[in-house]
Amino acid sequence: MEFALSEEQRLLQDSVTRYLESQCTLDHVRAAVENEVTKHTEVWNGLSDMGIHGIIIPEDFGGVGLGFLEAALIAEALGRTVAPVPFIASCVMAPVAILAAGNASQKDIWLPKIASGETVFGVGVSEQVGRRETNGIQFSDGKLTGKAMFVLEGMSADMLIIADDKGVMHIVDANAKGVTRRNLKTIDKTRAVAEVVLENAAADTLSGSQNNTEALLKTIDTGRLMLAADTLGASEVMIEKAVAYAKERKQFNRVIGSFQAVKHMCAEMATELEPCRSLVWYAAHSVNHIPDESRLLACHAKAHLSEIGRFVAKTSTEVHGGMGFTDLLGLHYWFKRIGLDRQLLGAPELIREEAAVAQGW
């Protein structure tokens, strides 16, 4: 009985965190954001060298074959450094979809390319969470037509996984004929979402998703889990920054952290976030080891981290006073990262409704 990270897991997370803290600095983030770059940055390539791209891809396909807990630890580290990389879509959701619903040849072709960093995948499944606007994709005769919105990493991707109106997933070449992409600007410039308009675009169907929604749901759930882990990491840093600021900033001849009001704001943030870490670990662990519970846990991890993340983002900004509201410290990159995580793949109320359905409530 051990509810803790193994030595290997700790080492993995430490080395990725150390790497990101040294390479994915705020300056790097600012520069990447300015150039709207999220792939082929040095950081993305460096992560590739560390084997991160293939973290959940089996060794047979050129990956390192680790579990979702390891993937969550990476996502947390990326959230900590607001890293502008397409990890969640390309290294988690796309491999999950292909592994769960792809045929042998699809696996053989794409998984090694993802693991090696040769190919970046974007993922468009938002319509399966709740359709906004007049979007929706029809599939017939091996072609896709329609509009997918909020395609994760849609702009930077070479290939796309797109779910159609029936929930069947397909692989689409992002640069093929009949595929038009448009950047949707959000508050968070460290990750990109896109609108993808398809007009008779050639589609390579993931046939395992044709007769049941298991693969689709697993793709969404693991995406949610990674977003939760990302929020966990970003929130940790917002608390650390608030505590550090509270120890250093003086007003009324005292460091502000000695004022009970500020101290309690910090204590409340830390208190709310701490059990979230355990929840994310457990939810990630369950994908591999307790699959019966994993749907409910992914929903709860995403929704709960969204709520706590919002509280932390707001409170940390308040602790920083006016400085938190400016661009000077760059604190808003974390604020907005948490803000985007919250909305992607379902905002909390919608996800909780799914959790209710999952329990037959």
């Binding site: 600007k185 007003q251 004022f259 900004t317 400085m323 509201f325």
Partner: protein, 395 residues
């Protein structure tokens, strides 16, 4: 309890309506206030002053309309201008002009008030410093008297409008050895004085609404001090109070609530309007109760002001509750919009010009600015409830 207006005020309202009917088309578009200025804006402001809808209570000799103070008439003017979507008139910077009227010399009043209310002379405020936020009185920008001039060195922050203001009113430390509240003076000077550098300050919304301003050997004539030397804290403070009361306007809350309802009715998930989702609707209703109670609270403040009574607690709480409520309305809008809720800037599919995300951040800035929530609670606890201050500490 009588929410009707007496005949005098009904007549006054008709007058305002009549004026707006006749002249409303001359109103420039957009809500530009006392901070920025343009030709069209200045002639509109001039027209309003002539009719008593701007600078209403400023004495005639300083370029105002010279009417008796009448809270209700002000309120009626404001209401009718909002209804007609006409740009409201102003009385100059609301922290500066009342200060000048109360504490300026005759020469200062003459020199500054007229041009300020006409819009020829614009102002920015130099109070906060990077090291002095909640503890404003610890400010360290120095002014030393050399001959007939103050020589100013230091840095200010949150100087909104500094890039186009003609003038600044500024707190500086002139008596370095006095206790902190007693060593400050209130100076006014031109922004094109040599030695002033203005750097835009980008905020989390991505805009440079504010500036940092830097002062290096800035020389200002000795007589450009308002009030006595060393009394700048008290000069500034009378008007700071004013500013605090003015945030969290209940009409603005209602307007935003209306926009929220409209959005929740028009946006849909899988074809069903958001307002039909009980989890969103219940949050909306909780906010509605708060908006209504702030509206009523606002009427109570107005009513007390009419009778020249101190409204007490019901005024103290406006900033704390109003900013938070605005923030929560934006939060609900974002949540309900789902992924559409994160769109920003000039993104395709952007809703309501991106105002919900922008407000969500701006409101957080307002929760912090002009007295953080924590400072507000201290004040309410100590001044309204009479709880003791923290004891003095050993240094």
């Amino acid at each position: 309890m009588d929410l009707a207006y007496s005949a005098e005020y009904d007549d006054f309202r008709s007058e305002v309506q009549q004026f707006l009917k006749e002249h409303g088309h001359k109103s420039p578009k957009g809500r530009m206030g006392w901070g920025k200025t343009d030709d069209e804006g200045r002639s509109w402001q001039q027209l309003l002053i002539e009719h008593g809808y701007a600078a209403r209570t400023i004495p005639k000799e300083y370029g105002g309309y010279g009417a008796e103070a009448d809270v209700l008439k002000n309120h009626i003017i404001a209401e009718e201008f909002v209804k007609a979507k006409a740009r409201p008139g102003h009385s100059g910077d609301p922290r500066l002009v009342p200060t000048l009227l109360e504490l300026g010399t005759e020469a200062q009043k003459k020199a500054y008030i007229g041009p300020t209310i006409s819009g020829e002379m614009t102002w920015c405020q130099g109070y906060s410093e990077p090291g002095s936020g909640s503890d404003l009185a610890s400010l360290s920008t120095k002014a030393v008297l050399e001959g007939d001039e103050w020589v100013i060195n230091g840095q200010k922050i949150w100087t909104s409008g500094a890039q186009y203001a003609d003038m600044i009113f500024c707190l500086v430390r002139t008596e370095p050895d006095a206790p902190k509240h007693q060593g400050i003076s209130y100076l006014v000077f031109k922004m094109d004085t040599p030695g002033i550098e203005v750097r835009p300050l980008v905020t989390m919304t991505g805009e440079a609404i504010f500036n940092e301003t830097f002062y290096t050997d800035v020389r200002v004539p000795k007589d450009q001090i308002i009030g006595a030397r060393g009394e700048g804290w008290f000069v500034a403070n009378a008007t700071l109070k004013h500013e605090r009361g003015s945030l969290g306007d209940p009409n603005q809350l209602e307007t935003r609530f209306g926009a929220l309802v409209k959005m929740l009715k028009s946006e849909k998930i899988d074809g069903k309007p958001l307002i039909k989702y009980p989890a969103y609707r219940d949050r909306l209703l909780q906010l509605q109760a708060r908006v209504l109670s702030m509206k009523c609270n606002g009427m109570r403040i107005l009513s007390a002001s009419i009778k020249d009574q101190e409204p007490g607690l019901c005024r103290w709480i406006v900033k704390l509750l109003g900013c938070e409520l605005n923030h929560q309305m934006a939060a609900l809008a974002i949540d309900a919009m789902g992924e559409l809720g994160v769109l920003y800037e000039d993104s395709p599919y952007l809703r309501d010009y991106g105002m919900w995300q922008r407000n969500y951040m701006l409101d957080l800035g307002l929760i912090i600015g002009g007295g953080t929530a924590q400072i507000q609670k201290n004040m309410i606890g100590e001044r309204a409830l009479g709880l003791p201050k923290e004891p003095k500490y050993k240094d």
